[in-house]
Symmetry: C2
Subunit: 364 residues, 2 copies
């Protein structure tokens, strides 16, 4: 006496556009979806620059701010922002506008994912890193004591609106951190783009319009390509983690004193040189990557005093390692990323090879 009922869950398409347009923030009203009310979520730094500019274009918008800094990407801030929505009388017909860097996007995205079981969010990234990476793909989350982003949800944005003009108010080092991810995009998907970045560093650094537009567009295209292929991060999206296995370990051993962009730069170098040594990646790839990173003033060596044994230990407790050996996402050659013959998008590497490279890149 067994019976079974099938529940089908045909989802409505959640495809969305990433719009890249200088001056977009000045006319954002025309770019936002219709909504009964809006809630602009931003941190105290970005609020000063853009919150009022956006709010005054809308008839019923609240501004909810939180203290800037990754330390505030926590459950307490998430609850306060959710309470703020209630006080604003926000309903399912409210649209959240996340204005800021990666911390704001993650936090506001998680608020949107969980308020009344999900309300729309438009991401308005204001750092290069957020524009080409965090704002696309629907990853949202907060940090808890147990680890970063351990609590979160996939919640696709309704749209991403990128105004490259805001990069003019961005500190130079933030631009460099973004370039680490752009270089990664070239390394995993487009060798010509990687070369173009290396060749165009002066124009990029001077924020020349054509160069910045191309940089953002090509990186967004690559990020979108991997995300579209693998929305729930079960396969090909792993390519975007190139450099990140080492990067997360570096961030942990430096107690997050090392900026993510620098950790990714270092991480890519360590991983690709290890992969060369292990015969996984074409020889000479590491040198080309280092050239591009150095052009962007990004580090190709470990921070002074880093202990390679500590880095190895930090990796073995990383969440990606839970099922066993530490795994790495590594391109077979610059601009090419594919699964191995068994369909795995990540691979283990011998610990002694990785440790050797770490030791070689340590500044004594």
């Amino acid at each position: 006496m067994t019976t079974s009922v099938r529940v089908s869950t045909n989802q409505i398409s959640q495809d969305y556009d990433v719009l890249i347009e200088p001056g977009a923030i000045d006319r954002i009203r025309a770019l936002l979806p219709d909504a009964h009310t809006y809630a602009i979520i931003t941190d105290t730094n970005v609020a000063r620059l853009y919150a009022e500019k956006i709010r005054k274009q809308l008839t019923n918008a609240a501004v909810l701010t939180f203290e800037a800094g990754e330390a505030n990407k926590n459950a307490e801030t998430w609850q306060k922002l959710s309470d703020g929505l209630i006080n604003h009388n926000a309903g399912r017909d409210t649209c959240i506008i996340a204005v800021g860097g990666g911390v704001t996007g993650d936090l506001a995205g998680f608020v949107a994912a969980t308020y009344m079981r999900g309300v729309p969010v438009v991401q308005v990234p204001t750092t290069l890193l957020a524009m080409i990476d965090a704002s696309i793909g629907g990853k949202t989350g907060i940090d808890i004591d147990g680890g970063k982003n351990l609590i979160g949800a996939f919640h696709q944005p309704h749209a991403v609106i990128i105004d490259p003009d805001v990069l003019r108010t961005l500190p130079k080092h933030e631009l460099r951190y973004g370039l680490a991810e752009a270089i990664k995009h070239g390394a995993i998907a487009d060798a010509a783009y990687l070369q173009w970045i290396a060749d165009s560093m002066q124009s990029i650094d001077a924020l020349e319009s054509n160069a910045i537009m191309h940089l953002i567009q090509r990186s967004v295209e690559i990020k979108a390509q991997f995300v579209s292929a693998d929305v729930q991060e079960a396969g090909a999206r792993a390519a975007l983690n190139f450099g990140h296995t080492i990067a997360h370990a570096l961030e942990r051993v430096t107690r997050y004193a090392m900026p993510h962009g620098e950790a990714v730069a270092c991480g890519m170098v360590v991983e690709i040189l290890s992969a060369e040594a292990a015969g996984v990646t074409e020889a000479g790839s590491g040198a080309k990557l280092v050239h591009a990173l150095e052009g962007a003033a990004l580090p190709a060596a470990l921070p002074k005093g880093t202990n390679s044994s500590e880095v190895m230990a930090a990796m073995s407790t990383d969440k990606k390692a839970r099922a066993g050996a530490v795994r790495y996402a590594i391109p077979a050659r610059l601009g090419e990323f594919s699964a191995d013959t068994e369909g795995n998008w990540t691979r283990p590497m011998p610990d002694d090879v990785v440790k050797g490279v770490l030791a070689r890149l340590s500044i004594k």
Copy 2:
């Protein structure tokens, strides 16, 4: 100089089966998906009855319990359970098993929805109400000061496993609460089923196997039909809210002293009699509904001392009313539910008509 990149988000199908099988818990290992580890989430009452029975069938399972009661369906419990998963070293390859009533399903479902951006959950409902209602449809959430279920997510279960044998350990009043929803299913989708419930009350009350199997199966089919048609609750799923606009107001004015099943029973009667008076629903529908409810020993009148003005006031602050007038989900005749000519699945009704019915059903 505007450019736009499309991000496609083709979702993997998340269809799932609701299995109904007496004794399913005794052989649950064979029914669960493969997973690296399991985490059984349950409350202190249900833990005593079923946690060990399930745990001992699995090689790597933790039991995470929380104090029984709706009052604990909050952010604090959610955080504790998430911490419990971290301590159990749970990863994305962990399967959560939610064993209990609606509170457990909502809470464990929300933990699953937000742990590492989503891990699979199998719902094992142990009350009739949870079997035929809460466990199906992917609604998860917690209560906050601002209101019930204001924080939550849609997170479809990997499967729902219903063991009707557990109803033998269920207090009789819990069975009645479940019958309120079963009667609702008949009222919105299947008049013959409604009649069958009224005619079969003795067999149901005696937990006769054939009657219970039919009851669960037909209600699950109806719930699944509405949920499948409208996964994100944008349209037809509104039918499932029949009786609930009044029910939520009754729960609020009684400060949740009135059990949900009784509130839904009352709510359906008030709403259908109002709809008859307003000419929306076929005359005589209310009398048939009252007959079925009374057969299940469910109330067709308001709790003693209920003030109809308070109920009206509670509705106007209900979240469904945010956009303006209070709206109701009401069948046109018993067993039939459809959108109006403008495509609306809910409709307003004159306040004085509703208030008149409330006053008439009040026990002085």
